[in-house]
Symmetry: C2
């Protein structure tokens, strides 16, 4: 590298005098907020693609294994996110409150939007509906992709199950899509 | 599911009357900001673990393939993030400006912090230094893990290379760690 690199300047805030730089930074800042919102989505796309590339058994066995790997990754990420919660909130929460929090705060943290509705039969079954689930939006152009949907849902099923697990609730989480990009997550609480 | 679930309520903002719920929401909101910052980190940890679990050839060949897969995923995520930038900013940017933007805005979008310094030899080589690189912080407890560092750097090397690629700059990006959790990324611009 010749004489070696020398310091240009600290990568600090834009200098007031740098007008063009400031204007660019403003535009980039708007871009950044979009990028920020999309980082998880891009990463998720890559994970799905990578898993399908390497577990290339096209039969139901290979498919099932990839779904299970994705669900497991989602579970551990959900657990880890759940552990970030202030511990004091966990003691005096009712089941329904926990589900509401997932619909609002967990969803905003991951998808920058709230879940659209939450229903329950008051017997331990909850249906969480997202009318424009971000991980399905790009597929929403054609119904012909409906059969591809499960691989874009497995991680998020695990994410919900993992966050619930950290909050002390054992559950089964499945997802279904009737018309893209609407998605329903069914949470069935496992009483022990 | 018996009579089927019925609507509880829209997952909207907390009701003013729900004092306890409001207090919880405030505490959760603080937790959410932390969770938000950590989502990428958790996901990255899972990707690394998953790749090392399934490309289990422990020799240099298997290691190299996993690193290359991670770098490729980072490249495509970096490209996609780069495409989110307002197109008008791309035309009148100098190389050094692009690097500064990566150090600030891309880094903040992904890691919630800025790069600590940027140096150059003014001949197409840039050294970007992060004194507390988030993906290495958890490893920083012991120097004995230094040999594990490359697998926590490959994705980010790809991320930088991908963002540069979208911005019209072809590069080679490598990373080195002398003392955890400080990390240097060397970007060498490829003139064509």
């Amino acid at each position: 590298m010749g004489a070696g690199p020398r310091q240009v300047r600290e990568a600090g805030p834009a200098q007031p005098g740098q007008r063009e730089h400031g204007a660019l930074a403003g535009r980039w800042a708007r871009g950044r907020r979009m990028a920020d919102a999309a980082l998880f989505e891009f990463l998720h796309t890559e994970m799905v693609a990578e898993l399908w590339a390497h577990h290339s058994d096209p039969g139901p066995g290979g498919q099932k294994m990839s779904l299970s790997v994705l669900e497991g990754m989602g579970f551990r990420v959900g657990q880890a996110l759940g552990e970030r919660l202030p511990q004091e909130t966990l003691a005096f929460r009712e089941e329904l409150d926990v589900l509401k929090f997932l619909c609002k705060d967990l969803w905003v943290a991951v998808f920058q939007k709230q879940m659209d509705s939450l229903r329950t039969n008051h017997q331990g079954t909850y249906v969480l509906q997202d009318n424009s689930f971000p991980l399905l939006i790009r597929m929403a152009a054609g119904l012909q992709y409906l059969e591809e949907a499960p691989k874009f849902l497995a991680f998020t099923c695990g994410l919900l199950r993992g966050a619930l697990s950290t909050l002390g609730i054992k559950s089964l989480v499945t997802a279904s899509v009737a018309s893209l990009p609407t998605c329903k997550f069914q949470v069935v609480i496992q009483k022990t």
